[in-house]
């Protein structure tokens, strides 16, 4: 199980399309992945969960993953939300 704090740099935050991309990426991995904002933690493989967090630009979120490809999952997802476009 690994955890990493990441700042969201996407211009408009995790809006619907970005959230869908994020979830799609998370689903490529076997590991259980979670995204946490403040005290709310949701399954990163669920689009509704991710959207319910309403993550805006500049928010610091915590990514956690548990499973044999956890490292890969965290790195890929971090890349995605730290992209600035």
């Amino acid at each position: 199980m690994i955890e990493k704090q990441v700042e969201v740099k996407l211009k408009s935050g995790l809006q619907a399309r970005q959230a869908a991309l994020f979830v799609q990426e998370a689903n490529r991995f076997k590991a259980d992945v979670f995204l946490q904002k403040d005290t709310k933690k949701v399954n990163a493989k669920s689009i509704m969960g991710i959207m319910s967090l309403a993550v805006a630009k500049g928010t610091v979120v915590t990514l956690c993953a548990d499973g044999h490809d956890e490292e890969k999952a965290i790195n890929a997802l971090q890349l995605l939300i730290e992209k600035a476009n």
Binding site: V42, N43, S46, I47, M48, A54
Partner: protein, 312 residues
């Protein structure tokens, strides 16, 4: 953590602010309410300062009988650094000593026109529900025949699709994918959707759909007590699944144990029917009819009879 401030109480109950306006952002951390009768008499040893203080006719009429210097000192001690708010009931007149002390220590003082006991119970209910411990789980909450069924399971196992089938059969959707749960009382878990996701369901291949617009107001519920958890998982031939239903598995959410059934999913197994039956069977069990136990008892009787026959 959800916090309640004095201002929330003021807005909820339409209270009139009298003094101590600067303290309007004070946090209320407990649902207990104190009626400081003994404190008015000068006994502050066990003064529960962190509670909302409610002054009624009894306390205030006693207070009126005190000599002037006691009045000042007791109101000063009542307005401690911790006191979240002081509320006067029945529209009684606020003593000048309290106004002075509260302005000095920034403790908000409110007035309500309701009677003390009535207001006290309403305030307790409000604070208890606001301060209830909460959590969020990944799952779908559906009201099936009046039973709040929380469908859980890994991503992609078919939770939302099952919920859609249940809705088509006339059951009600509460929340899809992310369920916010609060423990409102002992053994009482209430689930609701995050405000952003109300009435929405996501089906792979279609996208996000609005259940209320598609199926009407009867297809949704804003919140529901959770009484049964059904965990869906892909059929594992190595795993043992309950064949009798004699034992009950429990899952703990916050402080409450909820009955949990594990249902394997496989092509050809109609999950929504299984969930409907599970909900009805759960109701039946609560009413005292337990098919599994009844069967087991019949079997035992038969075995005893056979045993006796052998003895001849």
């Amino acid at each position: 953590m959800i916090q309640v401030i004095a201002k929330d109480v003021m807005e909820k109950f339409n209270l009139k602010l009298v003094s101590g306006e600067e303290g309007i952002g004070r946090y209320i951390t407990t649902s207990d309410i104190s009626r400081p009768g003994l404190e008015m008499a000068g006994y502050f040893t066990h003064y529960p300062a962190d509670r909302v203080q409610l002054l009624g006719k009894t306390e205030l009429s006693f207070f009126e009988m005190l000599p002037e210097e006691d009045k000042i000192s007791r109101m000063k001690r009542l307005c401690s650094d911790e006191t979240p708010a002081i509320i006067i009931s029945r529209d009684l007149e606020v003593p000048q000593e309290l106004i002075d002390a509260s302005n000095e220590n920034h403790v908000p003082v409110f007035v309500t026109n309701q009677t003390t006991t009535w207001f006290s119970s309403r305030l307790t209910n409000f604070l208890e529900s606001k301060l209830a411990p909460t959590t969020a789980v990944h799952g779908v909450l559906v009201d099936v025949y009046g039973i709040g069924v929380l469908i859980m399971g890994k991503s992609g196992v078919g939770k939302s699709e099952t919920a859609l089938e249940l809705v088509k059969k006339g059951h009600r959707l509460v929340a899809d994918d992310s369920v916010e749960i609060r423990q409102e009382g002992e053994n009482m878990l209430v689930g609701s959707p995050p405000p952003l996701l109300e009435h929405l369901l996501e089906i792979r291949g279609i996208g996000i759909i609005d259940i209320m617009t598609l199926f009407g107001a009867s297809a949704i519920r804003p919140y529901k007590r959770i009484t049964l958890i059904i965990e869906l998982e892909t059929w594992d031939p190595e795993k043992f699944y309950d064949r009798l239903g004699l034992d009950e598995e429990k899952m703990k959410i916050i402080d409450t144990d909820v009955t949990k059934l594990t249902v394997p999913v496989q092509p050809g197994r109609n999950v929504s029917v299984i969930i409907e039956v599970a909900a009805m069977n759960y109701r039946l069990k609560k009413m005292g009819v337990n098919a599994a136990e009844e069967f087991s008892r019949r079997l035992d009787d038969m075995l005893v009879v056979n045993d006796e026959m052998d003895d001849y």
